[in-house]
Structure formats: C-alpha cells, structure tokens
C-alpha cells in the first residue's frame, strides 16, 4: 500500500499475519442454529463480497497488492454495521475476536488512502468542528444549563456521560436518565463532554481520537469523579473498550445505567410501585450485547417491572438482529439502515409485543425511524424512559 501501513502498525498487532486466516467458510453469515442469515450486509447485498469473509479476503488482497483501493472497494468495506454477528459465529478461535478490529483498521486505511465515502466524512468534519464536537453538527452543549436545571454540583463521585445521540437527538431519554439519577440520590454531575468518538472510530477516521479522549478524561478527572455512567450502549463500549485500546489513562469505573438500576433493585434500594401493563420485547444493542457480553442484566430489570410481560424475539442475545444504525451505516446508507430496523420491528411484532424497548439511544432512533417510515405501529421506548413513567421509591 506504500508507506507505513496503519494495518501493520497502528494497532500494535501485525494484521498481515492474521487476515489471511479467514477460510471464508461462511459461518459468519448465520445465526447460531443457521435459521437465518444474520449478517445484515450479506443479507442485503448477497454477493460473497459482502460477507465478513469476503471483506477479509479483500483486505488481504489490498495488503498483498493483488487489488487496489477504489471507491467501490471502500464501499464494500463500509457497508457493514459492525454488529459483531461474525465475531459470534466465526469458528476460528483467537481469530474471531479481531474481525471487527480488522474491518475498522481497513477503514482507517481507506481514509489514509483518500477513499472514505463522502457521507461518512461528515462525521469527522462535524466532530472536529469547534462549534460542535459532535457528529450531528449541533452546537456544542457544555451542559451548563442542564446542570443548573437539575441542580448538579461541580464536583461529584459520578459523571453522567450523556453521549451525543441522547443529548442532541433523544433528549427525552437523556432527561429520563437525569431524573432517574436524581431520584436515586446518586452523587453525580455533568461535564462539557465532547464526542466519545464511537462514530469516527467505527468509520476509521481516527486521527483526532486521542485528543478527544484526553479532553474527556481530563474533564472527568477535573470533577473528581471515580465512576462514569451512560445510557448509551455505543458510548459504553467506546469508553470501556476503545478508549483503553487507544491508550487512555484512566482508572474510573464505567457503568451503563441498566447496571445501576439492576444493582439498586438487587439491594432493595429501588422499589417500582406502579405497573407497566404491556407486552415488551427487548432488543439487544450490538454494542452492549455482542460487543460487551451484557445480555441478562437488562432482561432481569425488565422482569422486575410490575405488570410487564417480557417476550423474546426469535433472534435474541448473541443471535440478535442488528438495528442497522451502527458502523456508520445510518449516515452512509440511510435507506438500508432503516430497512434493517424494519426487519427487527417485524420480528418484534411476531412476538405479540406492542412495545420494543432497548437501552441505547442509537437503536431507539433507528427503530423509531423505521417505525415511522413503515407505519409499523409498535411503540419504541428506552428502558430508562419506561422507568421514568413509573412510580419508583428509593430507600437509601
């Protein structure tokens, strides 16, 4: 590829020695029991090229010089929501863990070679813009007003890391989280946060990532916090996994809101006193499930809500069908992205549920977009929003 390749140096791992280990056997396309194609990209495009195996062979072709970067090639590398189904189903141990990393590094290589697709470029342009610091191109909220509104201190044990999607697109979810943390008497505050960098890491636009991480870590340290909590599965994955991968120096603990709720319920500090009389199906966010291995905690919380009937979709937990928003697909392929969510909503309806709920603002956004576009008539709501509707009592 000429010059120093990101593929060989940036991740402290010699990718040349592992990419070709893909045999292209195709397990990565399926659910565990082969009931369906569970790779959104392969299911949509159907050429072998669009399976994870196809991508890895293309990446090997780039490394070996057999093929060259082109707009079309970059398009194949980017047409993947990095949902992690391939990681779950690839049978080659100690290789399967790297599949998403390999795709993300290849995207970084595409960026380096000038082949980042135009739509995905906007994520970096907006995030780097000093007026925004977020991928939505919204004026940066330093969260001062929110701190005032919710009477939050300057120093605290916890930081609620809101995340860009909650702060700029799912403010009801954000406010529900803020109200819950207040009710739960958590000693928390907010920081002037900049993007966690999930969207730009997922799309290989990694140049400013360390600066953003350093800034956010400094902000968190400045308020004296030892714990970070977020309601966003994407931020959770990024802070807990990617920041460390990028060499972040922090020793605070990272929690998803659902973990705190579960802990409070288990310790009888939280009592839910009213009922939520609905049949609900839980959608596993890829960034919380396959990427972080958290499947049961959200389910245990839902089950403790009085009146709720929890129904499982055909594909759940490790087998869950992606919502289609991740990996830069929402911005890069907006129509396909909501088609993926439409399939999830259809599956939700098969269960008899009237509500599909998740614990990720990004999933919530995309499922809601599909719900509206295709008139699916399912209620899409986050767990924290459900709790916000209920009468809860905190005994601390």
């Amino acid at each position: 590829m000429g010059g120093e390749s990101i593929i060989t140096i940036s991740e402290k791992q010699d990718w040349r020695d592992i990419v070709h280990r893909c045999f292209r056997c195709g397990y990565c396309k399926f659910t565990h029991e082969y009931s369906d194609f569970n790779c959104p990209s392969y299911k949509k495009f159907r050429f072998e090229t669009y399976s994870t195996g196809g991508r890895l062979w293309l990446i090997y072709g780039i490394i070996s010089g057999e093929i060259q970067w082109s707009e079309n090639l970059a398009n194949v590398i980017y047409a993947c929501p990095t949902c992690g189904n391939c990681i779950e189903n690839c049978r080659f141990e100690k290789f399967n863990d790297f599949l998403i990393d390999i795709i993300e590094v290849a995207r970084a290589e595409a960026v380096k070679n000038g082949f980042c697709p135009e739509r995905q470029k906007a994520l970096l342009e907006r995030t780097e813009n000093t007026e925004y610091y977020n991928p939505y191109g919204e004026k940066n909220s330093d969260n001062t007003e929110l701190k005032k509104k919710f009477d939050l201190p300057d120093k605290a044990e916890w930081v609620y890391y809101i995340g860009c999607t909650s702060n700029y697109r799912q403010q009801n979810l954000r406010d529900a989280t803020l109200r819950f943390l207040k009710k739960a008497k958590i000693d928390f505050t907010l920081i002037d946060e900049h993007c966690c960098c999930s969207p730009i890491i997922r799309t290989g636009q990694i140049k400013p990532v360390n600066d953003f991480i350093n800034y956010n870590v400094a902000q968190i340290k400045n308020v004296g916090a030892t714990k970070i909590i977020t309601s966003c599965a994407g931020c959770y994955r990024t802070i807990k996994k990617d920041w460390l991968k990028f060499g972040a120096d922090y020793d605070f603990e990272v929690f998803h809101t659902v973990e705190l709720v579960k802990q409070l319920l288990d310790e009888d500090q939280l009592k839910i006193k009213s009922e939520y009389k609905n049949t609900v199906t839980y959608h596993d966010p890829c960034h919380l499930g396959r990427h972080m291995g958290m499947y049961e905690i959200p389910r245990e919380v839902y089950k403790k809500i009085p009146g709720i009937k929890l129904a499982e979709m055909r594909r759940n937990r490790e087998n869950a069908w992606c919502c289609g928003a991740g990996g830069g697909v929402k911005i890069g392929y907006p129509e396909w992205s909501v088609e993926i969510s439409q399939e999830r909503l259809e599956e939700a309806k098969e269960t008899g549920a009237s509500v599909i709920s998740s614990v990720c603002p990004f999933c919530r956004t995309n499922l809601s977009d599909a719900n509206e576009k295709y008139n699916m008539e399912v209620e899409v709501i986050d767990l924290i929003e459900i709790l916000d509707k209920l009468d809860i009592e905190i005994n601390k």
Binding site: D17, H20, F23, G26, F30, S35, E48, T49, S70
Partner: protein, 457 residues
Amino acid sequence: MNLDKIMTNLEEIVGKDFASNKAEDLYIYSQDPGASEPRPVNFVVMPKNVEEVQKIVKLANAEKIPLVPMGGGLTLSGLVIPVKGGIVIDMKRMNNIIEINKFSKYALIETGVTTGQLLSHLNENYPNLQPPVPDAPPSATVAGNVLIHGSGYLSQKYGDHGAMINGLEVVLPNGDICKLGSASLSPFWFARGPIPDLIGLFISSFGTMGIITKLSIQLFDKSKFREVVFGLLNDPKDIPNILLKITETGLAEDVLLGMQDKPDWMKGYIFVIVYVTGESEEEIDSHIKTFKRVYRKANARYMKTPDRVRNIYLEKPIFAATAADYRKGGGFEYVGANMPLEKIPEAYKKGAEISKKYGIVPTLGSRLIGGTHNIVMFFSYSFNRADPKDMENARNALHETNKLALELGGIPWKAELTGQQLILEKMDPNYKKLFNSIRNSLDPNRIMNPGNWEVNQ
C-alpha cells in the same frame, strides 16, 4: 463479444443490484478457499428465479460466453472458478424451501438453499425428520453437495448424497426447462424412476450439462438419541476387518476413521468413530456394548470420549473446516477419493508418506458410504494462504495423491482440473466418447463450465 452489452443485458435480466463486473466482486469470485490459483471472471450474477436463469443461458448462448453455476463455492477444488472466463451464476438468491413432504419424506427446494437452512428448518418444523448433511460448513448448498456425489451424515446407512436425489429441475444449455424423475410426470417429487434415469448426467458433471434450479432430496427419520462410540486401532491393516465387523451389526448410522500426527497424543492411532442411534438411552447403551465387543474382537480398543471431543463429533454439520486453521494459514484442501475397502490400508500408509514428503502433518480420514460398498478417503493438506510457495506445495501434494488414488483403483472425488485430466487419461475411451457426445449434443456452443471434464478430441 461486447462485454458492455452483456453487462447491460445481465442488469436487465436480474436487476442492477444483482449483476456485477466490479473489480472487488470479480476478485472474490475468481478464487475459492482451496489451493487452486485464481482465474479471471467477467461477470457475477444472482438470479432470483428459473425464468431469469433461462434468460441468462440464452444470452450466454447468443454471446458464446461461458457460464459457471455456483452454490456455496466450497468444493475447495476450484470447480466454480471459471477456466475460460465468463459469467459466474451465484444461485444463492434462489433459496426457497418449497415443500416438505412428510409422507414420502422429501424436501423440494430451490438450488440456493443452504444445508444449514434446510437443517434448521427441519429441526424447527419437522423435528422427526433429518436431511443428509455434508461435512462442509452450513453455507454449502444442498444442491452443491448432492450434485458432486457428496457424502456426510447418513451416508453409511443410505449411500452417497447424490443417490438421495429424487428429482431435478434443470435449465438445459439451450435454455429449455426440463424436469427429471417422478416430477416429469407427477405432481409428487417422490422418486427417481421407474423411467430412464437421466439424473446421473447432472451429478459430478460440474455444471457442464445444465443449471439445476430445483431439486427433491430424500429426508430420513431421526432417532431420539444419538451417540458416538470411539475405538482405537494401531495398525491400518486391521481397517478392512473392523469395518466389515462394524457393518455386519447393522447398527451403525455412520462410520468415520481418522488418523493424524498432531496433536502428539493422536499420533500412532487410527480413530474409529461409530455413530449409533436409538429410541432410548438403554438402546444406546446396548449399542455401545455391542461395539465395545466388536472393537475387542478386531484388534481395537474402546476409547472413553471426553465431552469436548464427543460434542465436536455430534455437532451437525461437523466443523471439518477447522483443518484450515491447523497452521494458522487459512487454507486446506483434500483429495477425497472413493476407494475399494481392500485398498484402504495401503491408502493410509502411502498417503502419510506423501504428506511427510511435502512437509505437511499427515491428516487422513475415511467415511463409509453404503456399508463397505464404497469408502471415501480424505488426504488433507493444510497450507498458508499468504505463502504462494506453500500453496504450490499443497497443489503438488494433491496431484501426487490423485495419482495414488488412481493407482490403487480408486477415483478422485470432485477433482480439480489436473485431477480431472488424470481421471480422463485412465477412463475407458468409449465412456469418454459417450460423455462428450452427450455434452456436445446438449451444449453445442460449449458454454457450460468449459475447461472441466475436457475430453481431448
């Protein structure tokens, strides 16, 4: 030949999303996971129905451009990599399971249905029925497997998977649609005859006779319990005797043999793996006792199976592709050769010698097909995909093994191009003449996977 015009025509037939001449698609379809060298492809198309297939065939005839039908693309021997360029027809969008007939016990499916899809569909909806399953990954298509005389689960009891075909719908090289088997005169796809049996023309002919669009495959009753009984043999010369004694019991659903030098604890043994089934645990226990006796009397000993190993062998399909990771190199290919039982000991001995000669850890195996009527031998060679010399080394080992199989009276299975030529060199000239005249009659323009089974005129 106007390639731009062909591209436009293909897009008109299947839609823009499912016809490609993009470099990255052609790169992927120009190679398979085996050791064959890449060969160029001009187009890839994915038809959705038989009418689209017909139109593609008619276009190929008009333009005299080669057509290569493809299923899962997992033969490993390069059978769906075009030899003379042309159009690869990836059949996997034709993936409807049309009918499961629980009385006559068959599945009528389109050719893009994968073995994983059919297995899962039956497990969920017809738990008492099971399909034949090859040792290939679940992304292999049912059609791809049966149309190469595939074998795998249920082969010892019911024969090779090609023998389980009840009927085919074929688009012939002139674009005609032809139904074969009972479906040619009945709404039921329940049997192959009794009419002149032309189905065999389409098995192991590697797409040279037409494009299969539908097929009926036999299904079988599934017992409640299934278990593996492992035995250990020291000397390959005892193999024929133990296999005869195993099959005499009439109790084995499947029988596998395996021999490999790594890990070290496996070296020096031939592993005998018998699958037994039953309606109760007591019945299974009784079968296990029977095979313990059989092993004792045949110079073998019973091996208590660790759960980890047991689970590997009870999985359907078995993860045979693990061989691709033996050397962390992403590649393996094997000579599968159908052999007569009496030559199996020699095949093990000489196969191991070939492996050692090429510096590859000996990894050999066998599967019984229809009792001891036929044994498929596997001579497996792992290689490092990133090392062209290592791939060449594997190709040389494969070629020498093909020669060995033929010398021993066997027949290489789904042979790559060079293996096909070795077979043709040895084949009765009138067999070749008959084959070629049928092929020329069906495909005068020689558009169907040319380069395969090329009989020198």
